[in-house]
Symmetry: C2
Subunit: 279 residues, 2 copies
Amino acid sequence: MIVVRTIAELRTARRGLPGPVGFFPTLGFMHQGHLSLVEQARRECASVVASIFVNPTQFGPNQDFHRYPRDEERDLAMLAQAGVDLAVLPTVEEMYPGGDATRVRVAGLSEVLEGERRPGHFDGVTTVVAKLFNLVQPDRAYFGRKDAQQVLVIERMVRDLHFPVTIVRCPTVREPDGLACSSRNVYLTEEQRAQARSLSAALRAAEAAFAAGERDAGRLRQLARDQIESQPLASIDYLSLAGEETLHELHGRLEVPALLSLMVSFGDTHLIDNTTLAP
Amino acid sequence: MIVVRTIAELRTARRGLPGPVGFFPTLGFMHQGHLSLVEQARRECASVVASIFVNPTQFGPNQDFHRYPRDEERDLAMLAQAGVDLAVLPTVEEMYPGGDATRVRVAGLSEVLEGERRPGHFDGVTTVVAKLFNLVQPDRAYFGRKDAQQVLVIERMVRDLHFPVTIVRCPTVREPDGLACSSRNVYLTEEQRAQARSLSAALRAAEAAFAAGERDAGRLRQLARDQIESQPLASIDYLSLAGEETLHELHGRLEVPALLSLMVSFGDTHLIDNTTLAP
């Protein structure tokens, strides 16, 4: 595995990669979710590129940029083991030469749900992903469905700006008890960790009711909400049942594919998860 | 010359072009300024691509989008004659599928001078140029120095988003009497056209004083201003002497390369021009 830290090194290394090139951008602190993206990329591409970059512009001033977990040595070992061909670990100065005057923004989709709780978050995401796409020039880019809104925002950016990249949505990888894999899970205390099972339990409860014929948006939301509210350490940031493509909140009877998504806090730790309910 | 109107046709045609590929985006209604870009691109590239697209998002609601001069037949004949290999004439629907939610914005540089008089103008420019770069994938892109602020904003976008494109600044082409070539010159009445010579006269007056040793920013601006104010039909929108890279207005003695730029109205027609004064 080639490891590069500057844009000059990246451009040189990129020229030597046979195509099609698969890419997955990460914030590092790898878990099974990341590794499943590598596996899928390896099946579909001749070369796989991964980036590790804790992007400051997607964190708000009071968010966890500085404490975000980092373990470069372990990450590189995992990526090499998984069969990544090129790992890109740029500095903030390389990625934001002369500051952050230039932003890419997807209005609408970026402003609801997680975007409403974390103003500017998705602007930071779309900006850094645009930079990385221009640098890595992948044919296919892999994103986990756990970050459903992120995938939607990036797909919209790619379509609108005509990036010559295919976005691949990959299934959420879960711990044995159902908790979605996330680098932020390490923040949880043992007690919080146990109660965090309620996120996937909420999704499963709504899925089961949906499978049994329940179509009322309000009742489906309430079933999910009940699971979270039964956990004393859990606090709901949002719990949404919205049009899967528009993220407009749904009311009454479900007629279109819906994204059931939620953000739940345990202390300072915000976890997200989601599922799709398709009539 | 291949002419394409859809993105699918463009992607197919692009694959057949030998590199390096030179590109110049235009609003059409070609003049000698455009043709000089083709000439330079032909000298430096194996293939030359031109786009003609009157981009709605760079016009304000009360600006000249609908009356902007168009002559597709003449444009295509001129481009073919000049040796362009591929002409791209997309529709608004092809360029903005599903609306204009996604924008690329260069804060700061986009907000002064022409950006202050035309709010949102440069956001429209950077957005459409980002789209076109992703579609055409040029190695080099050619822009006229007449639109000095536009070149600066695009260079900043390219650097910040790491587009793999070299921006080439091309000299302003002028009519025999000094007026910079512009598609908007056709809007001028004969009387306005005569007085429009004052734009280049203003630049030449400042250049002459500068060459003779004048370094005071205020006096240099005033010399230029005097030329415009001597013309009864001319109205100054702005007249700026600013740092060439920052566009911050300069005061006192010039110590850094300065951009002397101006926008002058004749009725509803806004003309721009500029020169660089380098100590």
